[in-house]
Amino acid sequence: MTPNRHGSAVIEFPSDLEILITREFDAPIALVFDVFTKPEHVRKHFAPFEEEVTVCSIDLRVGGDYHIVMVTADGIECSFRGTYLEVEPPTRTVQTWLFEGWPDAEAVESMELTETDGVTKLTYRLTFRDQAGRDHMSKYDGLLSSFDNVEDYVAQISR
C-alpha cells in the first residue's frame, strides 16, 4: 500500500490577484487530466465536503462552456461556470471562472500538469481581473470562531 499524500496541497499568493495551488498525485498525467476534465469524473470529486453535485456539464474545447453546481448540506446552491480559452490535453487548460454568488468577481483559472517518474504535479492558478474580485476571497463572512490562545493560531498559520 503506498501512503497517501493527504493534506499536501500548497497554497500560495504570488500577487495581489492570484491564488496558486500545487499538489502531486501518484498517477499518470493522462489519467489525472481526464479526472479533472471529464464530467463523469469531476462529479465524483468537485465537492470538497458533503455537498451534492447536481449539475456537471463540460464542453472541453476552445470556446466550449462548463457549468458545475453543488448544493451544500444546508441547501445552498453554489454555481460555477465559464468558457474554455485553451485546451491542450494532457497538460493544460485555461478557462474563465465565474461564481454566481460573486457576479463582479471575474477570474481566469488555469490547470497545468507535468509528469515526472510517474508522479503528476498539478499547478492550479486562479487570477482575478481586479482587486474587487479578489477581495471576495479574503473577506471573512462566516461566524467568528472563538479563540483564546494566540500562540495556537499564530503557530498554525506559521507552519
Binding site: 493527504h6 498517477a27 470538497p48 473577506k139 470562531s145 479563540f147 493560531y153 499564530v154 498559520i157 506559521s158
Partner: protein, 113 residues
C-alpha cells in the same frame, strides 16, 4: 459581533512564508530587529522589509527604545485572515484528497481488468 473585513494588505502581508516566520519569532515576545535576524536565516535588509510590510498591515507594532527599534505582534489583526485561510486550505485539501483517492480507485480497477 459583526464580521470583520480583512484588507488585502493583511492578506498579502501574511501570504508570504518568510513573513509568517517573522511573525512566528515574535510569538515569544517583543524583539529588536537584530534579534529577529539572529532567529531567522534572513538578512537584516530582508527582515526590515518584511517588518515594514507587516507594520503597514497593522500586524506588528514598533516602539523605539534608545537606539533600538522593538517589534511586537498585534495578533488581533490576524484572526479573520487566519479563519478564512484555514477554511480555504481545508476545502482545497479535502477536494484534492478526494481526487487522489478516486485516482487510486480508478487505477486499481484498471489493474483488475
Amino acid at each position: 459581533m459583526a464580521p470583520t473585513p480583512v484588507t488585502s494588505d493583511v492578506f498579502n502581508a501574511i501570504a508570504a512564508a518568510d513573513r509568517r516566520e517573522v511573525l512566528d519569532t515574535l510569538l515569544a515576545g517583543e524583539k529588536a530587529v537584530g534579534a529577529i535576524v539572529n532567529d531567522l536565516s534572513m538578512s537584516q535588509p530582508q527582515v526590515s522589509k518584511h517588518l515594514r510590510v507587516l507594520s503597514e498591515a497593522g500586524l506588528v507594532r514598533c516602539r523605539v527604545d534608545g537606539r533600538r527599534r522593538l517589534y511586537r505582534l498585534e495578533p488581533a489583526q490576524l484572526r479573520p485572515f487566519h479563519d478564512w485561510l484555514a477554511k480555504y486550505e481545508q476545502a482545497w485539501n479535502a477536494r484534492l484528497d478526494r481526487v487522489e483517492d478516486y485516482l487510486k480507485e480508478l487505477q486499481q480497477r484498471g489493474e483488475q481488468q
